[in-house]
Amino acid sequence: MGKYVLKLYITGKTPKSERAIANLKNICEIELQNQYEMIIVDVLERPQLAEDEKILATPTLIKEIPPPLRRIIGDLSDTEKVLLGLDLQPTFKHKQGESNEK
């Protein structure tokens, strides 16, 4: 299995950002073990990067490698959708992601 390069764009240290980071780490640990590289970009600090990538919604997860390029938006609480977006078959039973907005 090739290495995954995942970029997560967030806006500041909001609960939504924190949830997305936690959910992504959780999924990657289970599914990709050490086969991944995770880069977190805070668009409030680096707006030009958001401009270059044409980010609208945050959090946005971009799967750069392996192709195809894919975007997953949201706090990644819907694990099934995240796995679908990453082209992964769930190997272990995941606990449902944290989602308690509002």
């Binding site: 764009y9 500041g12 668009v43 958001a50 401009e51 044409k54 609208l56 945050t58 938006i73």
Partner: protein, 504 residues
């Protein structure tokens, strides 16, 4: 009592006509919703808003596009003479590209907001120091995400942030019908302070564009729909009809009609700043009146301008020669300009703009339009009325004399729609009529009305020969000429009627 600091400041847009109908421009530091159906020129409006601000004020603008890519916008707006790439290089224009990227698949997995977009807009504003923002369009923004409630809330957040940053913004939204809900997705509920509507209505097989300011919270604006047109090289031009203020000076200087007898009938000629309507059936001598009017002006070294909508240049010149007037010589001496155009070549709004431009650049002393009724057939009644009001008021503002001709639909007597609309705004009305007498047709002329002056009330006979029009004696024993039903009466009857009104 009104307090100055509570008044809403406005930002001049320099979109022709808009600052007038909005009493000064767009509400400053606020968001205005611009709603319209597909093809109602929303993108042109928001682009022009930025371009005029950049070129006329030295302001800077950010364009957030949700629909077309920046490249498409740059290309499409080139036809208006707007070089967006140049502004970008100068640092007065920045794009935020939020257009859909069909090549990338997007999966929604959980809660999200538009923090990324907001950060980019704020970044672009700060980067170039923008004071104006255009967002085009909300419908395309909604279609990129499945969670409408989130998008709605985020649009509110964006407008709030824009306000905080003291930028004036215009946000476009789609509507599905011309007269119905303000916009799709109920966007007016959260960008509600100011609403402007663009319409593109199909009326009698012709498109008619109008703009209406529906509401401006806390400030005044002109009510109702105003027609507008889109000109290549210029963009949107709004025609503010009620901008017509009756403040033009009134002149008591008389000018010649080019025909001495007619001058005598008008007690010495037309007023210098008056509008004269010449009405008559086909062949009664309307174009001849125009020719006299032009020749009379050129003889006094005035600059004359003809808008001809019925005859070609060659025809006009040949006719004039037939009446002893040399248009070619007048043109060479710079005293005459003839603009010939088929009414069908453009919409009435476009004709109006073109005519205004010619008048502005040529600066004539007298103008003739031959004929107004030819324009009537290319438009709806409503557009035509607006056109007539607009062109007459424009000419009056220039303080030049205008002579319009109008063809009546029937040979004998009768009025036309043109007259119904124009008669109250014209200063003088001259009627040319066929008169059937002793088995032949003769021609009659009468001055029906002449504002601010006495005039001959008689219906006189006139003849046309190689030197033009010759007005002779009144028809003494004929009644019913104006109604198109001339009846001869015996001279004894004339005598008896005259006796009736004699003082005893």
């Amino acid at each position: 009592m009104k307090n100055k600091e509570f008044e809403v400041e406005k930002l001049e847009t320099h979109i022709p006509g808009f600052d007038w109908i909005s009493n000064g421009g767009l509400p400053k530091d606020r968001s205005t919703l611009l709603s319209g159906t597909a093809g109602s020129a929303k993108t042109v409006f928001v682009t022009q808003f930025l371009v005029e601000g950049i070129t006329k004020h030295g302001e800077k603008g950010v364009f957030v596009t949700f629909e077309e890519s920046p490249d498409e916008i740059r290309k499409n707006m080139k036809s208006f003479g707007w070089d967006i790439r140049k502004y970008e290089k100068e640092g007065t224009w920045a794009f935020v590209d939020a257009s859909p990227q069909p090549e990338v698949e997007v999966v929604e997995a959980g809660f999200y907001d538009m923090g990324g977009l907001l950060a980019r807009i704020e970044h672009a504003i700060k980067k170039i120091g923008a004071t104006m923002v255009s967002l085009d369009s909300l419908g395309a923004f909604f279609s990129q995400f499945s969670d409408r409630a989130t998008v709605r809330r985020e649009i509110f957040r964006i407008t709030y942030a824009l306000r905080k940053m003291s930028v004036t913004s215009v946000i476009t939204a789609e509507r599905t019908e011309e007269h119905g809900v303000i916009a799709r997705f109920g966007v007016e509920e959260f960008v509600a302070d100011n609403v402007v509507i663009l319409r593109n209505v199909l009326e009698a097989e012709r498109r008619r564009r109008t703009i209406e300011i529906l509401k401006y919270r806390g400030t005044v604006h002109q009510k109702g729909e105003y027609p507008f047109t889109i000109m290549p090289g210029e963009g949107i031009i709004i025609i503010p009809l009620s901008a017509i203020e009756l403040k033009q000076k009134s002149s008591d200087v008389r000018i010649t009609s080019g025909c001495l007898e007619l001058d005598n009938m008008c007690s010495g000629g037309f007023y210098r700043d008056s509008i004269i309507l010449v009405s008559g059936a086909t062949g009664t001598g309307k174009t001849l009146m125009v020719t006299h009017f032009m020749a009379g002006g050129a003889n006094k070294n005035e600059k004359c301008l003809i808008f001809a909508f019925e005859e070609s240049r060659e025809q006009l010149f040949r006719n004039a020669i037939g009446w002893g007037v040399d248009y070619e010589k007048m043109e060479k001496e710079g005293k005459l300009l003839v603009v010939c155009e088929y009414p069908e070549t453009a919409s009435l709004e476009d004709h109006l703009i073109k005519m205004k431009k010619v008048i502005d650049s040529y600066k004539p002393n007298r103008i003739a339009v031959d004929s107004l009724s030819a324009l009537e057939r290319v438009s709806t009644l409503r557009s035509f009325r607006e056109f007539v009001i607009s062109i007459t008021s424009f000419i009056k503002h220039q303080e030049v004399a205008g002579l319009f001709t109008s063809t009546t639909p029937t040979l004998l007597g009768g009025t036309s729609i043109t007259e119904t609309h124009i008669s109250t705004i014209t200063d003088s009305i001259i009627l040319l009529r066929y008169v059937e007498l002793y088995g032949e047709t003769r021609r009659g002329i009468t001055v029906l009305k002449m504002r601010g002056s006495t005039h001959d009330k008689e219906i006189r006979e006139f003849q046309i020969d190689h030197s033009g029009m010759h007005i002779g004696n009144p028809f003494r024993n004929v009644v019913g000429i104006l109604t198109g039903n001339p009846v001869q009466i015996s001279s004894a009857e004339v005598h008896r009627t005259a006796e009736l009104f004699k003082d005893r």
